[in-house]
């Protein structure tokens, strides 16, 4: 992969779900590019096909037409270089924190010592030290989502896809998790595509913000976020931030 090549490209990406009465047109000719190590957020009204887009990027769905290029090559099916964080935490309740995080390595046949070592590193990174042997039912929502993020990063993917990862959290935990995600992202060189329905969260986190229209979803606004890094929570209270939020809000319609 040469440095200037986009990490992810979609060309004319459309998705139609066959349905009982007719069909559901979820996405319509979506063209987008994500550069390596870019943080891209996708926002849009509910039911606009954001999740569908993410599943297509992950190779979990096959598009009805168009294609996804992953590091220049057409994507056919899931790839190991992609990490996915699902809407629900999707942890395995019978596995402890460290066992959940090391699952991707286990599936790749990495040796036990190495698995544990790398999982512990991630536990440290997401701030869950001391909880490695806890089971998911004893974790709060925010902690469970940290585990899910650690699990998505443990096999060192080039791309991290997050599907409304903080949707089920309360507002305060959500703010804290957003800052945490920024910290994790700067510690790891990884490209991020994140779906969210929070405009301020998207502005605070991303280099670029995509607005999808109502179904069938297409890219309505592609906005480079002109805010300096490091991003701080206080930035959300500046007039500049407010103007940007207004612009995005208007594009959503």
């Amino acid at each position: 992969m040469n440095a200037s090549e986009p990490a992810l490209v979609t060309r004319n990406l459309s998705m139609v779900y066959p349905n009982g009465d007719g069909s559901l047109h979820a996405l319509h000719q979506v063209d987008l590019q994500v550069q390596p190590q870019e943080f891209v957020c996708v926002v849009g009204p509910s039911g606009c096909g954001k999740t569908t887009l993410l599943h297509l990027l992950a190779g979990l769905l096959t598009p009805s037409s168009g294609e996804v290029l992953f590091e220049g090559k057409p994507l056919r099916g899931p790839r190991r270089h992609i990490g996915f964080v699902f809407q629900q935490t999707s942890l395995m309740p019978w596995r402890s924190v460290v066992e959940n995080i090391s699952l991707p390595l286990e599936l790749q046949g990495v040796a036990e010592d190495e698995r544990r070592h790398r999982a512990m590193e991630l536990i440290e990174l997401v701030g869950l030290a001391g909880f490695e042997n806890t089971h998911p039912h004893n974790l709060s929502g925010g902690m469970a989502q940290r585990v899910a993020i650690a699990r998505a990063l443990v096999h060192e993917p080039n791309i991290l896809l997050l599907d409304e990862p903080f949707g089920a959290l309360d507002a305060l935990t959500r703010e804290r998790m957003a800052s945490e995600l920024l910290r994790i992202w700067s510690a790891r060189t990884v490209t991020v595509v994140m779906v969210t329905h929070s405009i301020s969260e998207a502005l605070l986190l991303s280099d670029r913000l995509l607005v999808l229209s109502e179904r069938p979803g297409r890219v309505r606004l592609d906005l480079p976020v002109p805010l300096s890094r490091p991003r701080l929570l206080e930035m959300t209270y500046t007039p500049r931030f407010g103007e940007l939020a207004q612009e995005v809000r208007a594009a959503i319609g």
């Binding site: 999707s90 019978w94 596995r95 699952l103 599936l107």
Partner: protein
């Protein structure tokens, strides 16, 4: 603990009182002490253990066959809607036939020996385990399947690391029911045609008006079923320790 002790002492006391004041003869309602004496005699002459071991072997065989066929078929039915639509009517229809009604047929087909009893026992174990396997496998959350797919898990990995552990709680629930039913199955088979086993011993006792012996056998069957149930519970406790206290209390 106190309540268990109370149950153990209370029941024989009431029984003793009823048998004493009713004045019924021993062949209708023997007292607990008479049953206890009969138990010691059956134990001493070896007849109880001999017949019990026959029944236990049949029960274990029935459990093994019923459990293995039901989990394999249950898994296939859970994974294939087509297969389920094809087979479900037969399976449900077969369950409307009382085991007592087909037991004589099985004895005719497979002889009065052990095999027919094992098969009857496995038949009765089959259904609850089958249903629970299907429910268990279907209850695996879709996101976890997506997760395994996104990590490019093989079919085998998905089976071992996701489907089996996820279905286990429901499956063990089915096995608990199956374990107690398996004893009934074996006894029904022995009732129909056999010269061995606890079911045979009951019909023998009935013929001889040896009612205390009938009681001894009934309690032996209860003990056997409770032990099996207890073993499955123990297994459940070991395997599902992750569920923590709140689910196992």
């Amino acid at each position: 603990m106190g309540t268990i002790l109370f149950t153990i002492i209370f029941f024989p006391l009431v029984w003793e009182a009823i048998s004493r004041w009713s004045g019924l003869p021993a062949f209708i309602l023997p007292s607990p002490l008479e049953v206890w004496a009969r138990f010691l005699r059956a134990l001493a002459d070896g007849s109880l253990l001999r017949h019990a071991s026959v029944t236990l072997l049949e029960v274990l065989g029935g459990l093994a066959i019923g459990l293995s066929t039901a989990t394999v078929l249950g898994y296939l039915l859970a994974k294939s809607r087509t297969l389920e639509r094809l087979l479900a009517p037969y399976i449900v229809a077969s369950q409307s036939i009382p085991v007592v009604a087909i037991a004589p047929l099985l004895v005719i087909w497979f002889g009065p020996g052990r095999l027919s009893k094992v098969l009857i026992s496995s038949l009765i174990v089959f259904f609850p385990v089958l249903i629970n396997t299907i429910v268990g496998v279907r209850s695996v959350p879709a996101e976890l399947h997506d997760l395994m797919r996104s990590l490019r898990a093989t079919r085998w990995q998905t089976f071992v690391k996701l489907e089996v552990p996820a279905a286990l709680p429901v499956l063990l629930g089915g096995l608990k029911v199956g374990a107690t039913l398996s004893v009934i199955g074996a006894v029904v088979g022995e009732f129909v045609g056999s010269e061995k086993g606890l079911g045979f011993l009951i019909s023998l006792a009935r013929g001889l008006y040896d009612t205390p012996l009938s009681y001894v056998v009934v309690f032996s069957l209860v003990a056997m079923a409770l032990t099996l149930y207890g073993l499955v519970s123990l297994l459940e406790h070991r395997l599902l320790a992750w569920q923590g206290i709140e689910n196992n209390r």
